[in-house]
Symmetry: C2
Subunit: 364 residues, 2 copies
Amino acid sequence: MQNGLVISLDGMGGDDAPLIVVEGAWRARRKYPQAKFIIFGDEQKIRPLIKKHPGLESVMELRHTPDLVTSEDKPSTALRNGRNSSMRLAIDAVASGEAHCVVSAGNTGALMAMAKFVLKALPGITRPAIATYMPTKIPERGVVMLDLGANVDCGPKNLVEFATLGGVFSREIMKVAEPRIGLLNVGSEQMKGHETVKGAAELLCATRHLPGKYIGFVEGDDICSGTVDVVVTDGFTGNIVLKAIEGTAKLIGSLAKQTFLSSWLGKIGAVLCLPGFAVALPAFMSLKKRLDPRFYNGASFMGLKGLCIKSHGGTDAIGFANAIGVAAEMSLIQFNKKVAQELESMGLGSEQADSTASLEEATA
Amino acid sequence: MQNGLVISLDGMGGDDAPLIVVEGAWRARRKYPQAKFIIFGDEQKIRPLIKKHPGLESVMELRHTPDLVTSEDKPSTALRNGRNSSMRLAIDAVASGEAHCVVSAGNTGALMAMAKFVLKALPGITRPAIATYMPTKIPERGVVMLDLGANVDCGPKNLVEFATLGGVFSREIMKVAEPRIGLLNVGSEQMKGHETVKGAAELLCATRHLPGKYIGFVEGDDICSGTVDVVVTDGFTGNIVLKAIEGTAKLIGSLAKQTFLSSWLGKIGAVLCLPGFAVALPAFMSLKKRLDPRFYNGASFMGLKGLCIKSHGGTDAIGFANAIGVAAEMSLIQFNKKVAQELESMGLGSEQADSTASLEEATA
């Protein structure tokens, strides 16, 4: 592998692929000038897009593959029939040590299945998880939430693993010195919740060397309140909660629009507000940026021996560039190495890594 | 029991009780002039509040009780030691047939435990649930969601019962001719989710005479989108999702405020917007009303033989009046009788009602 930072890209994943993938990589280069890319996909479609950006060709290697995974493919089908797909070959590049990380905006289920199959779980992790970070009420203070759907059924031990993964992410990527880790539950009292969360709470209280501080149960309204840095939950609850939060934000936006456009007085009021909005524009733009889902794009598959980042399928180049940024940051701080060290100090990482060890470990 | 509508009130439940309870009842009388109240609690505190409103004394019977359930009491403690509390006696009034329904803004866990113990479940219902309704993107179209925390562990059969209860509520109270009933899950495809939702989906597909149309799995962002009238889920997920939705709405409000107040330009912009906001005021007020949590106050304990409505503990008199409104509507349409008929036609209500039969049944 080359020195520096090599990012493998699924050129065909996402609603507007390959355009957003190439443009996203070009944008990401501004922040990560050392980054090099390997992009997999349809050469005829991708080559002209690369040529548009001077200098991109020299840092982006294009590997033609005619196969692709569609958004309708079942994970099992993709795994069985997609061995030469752009998604699979992009993941393979991480497993082989050619790339530090892979980014795809394709089919989530297929990507998770392939990544698990190809990259394998880290020693000490029984269930890899999907994590993302979101804005909170406190400026500059995001929250990491996991699992978001990789595991609909979880036991107490899985939740402790998620807490560890999320804690390392918060500390190393979000730069929170001692992340506050909370378990999502229906109340903060000890007696609340089902056996799984109660069991996980007991385990977390007994765990030494957690990468952060376990603060107990947190509730749904704590997620965005800034009172916690890592929210741990099972993949069923996490997936539904994340989508409900996104849905609520959209609802409020659409209602605000309806308010101004539903009546003549509303429309006149909107016009009268324009000068005020113009003066407050810098503040609005900073709020918009703080809430812009594109800047929170890039869900991490954590707990695998290689780094795999899922971009939202419907994102644009700015959003895809942000997902590349997540991949770059996690690669640069050697996220998996940090997780492995953490698991080791917790007495959970004793299991020997097998031949598909993570790139960080293999190249350390 | 007197004719008309008799509502039993826990005078001591809620942060600002008994004030909000008396004022709430007085407000509710405007919409329900036929309503009469029995209020339980500290006579010295409640009597002067009643006297403030001319005409209220003649329709509000005050029954003194020195005991009360605090917000810190465990449900088991409240059940054991609270036999003479305002909460318990207010529930007893429904069981004895003196009142059609009870409203309390007190401790949720204690209220649920007491209501279950005193009122008992309807024949055909194994697990009563907590339900509420919320605004959606579609004007005038709310959504009913249950369970919100009464049952953290649920089996497929419980979810079918929730679907029935929610369907009857949507049809009879929200006046939706054929409610669309959805099961909350991590995806809409049949293979998605854990065994409980998959099992419930199978049962719902096979159920005839459901009060509404089962439309399959729905996701977190469907809750507020207006694509579904009844959202069915377990109490663990429902509780967390509801609080996450409330938290997100608060977050956006607080961020909007921050935007205007965080900088001088923002503040000047806000002032410049004032004429526009003033012109658009009617539209704003209608949006505010549509989103005002007070107008969605009043969670129903469904599936019991008597009607019990839980008001938010921190609400004001307007919110409490709305909770009384939910109780009044459910009493007037004889909600439990409708549920019993529905269960009967589904072949689930064959079990004989025991001696604590619901008021509607007892007085039919």
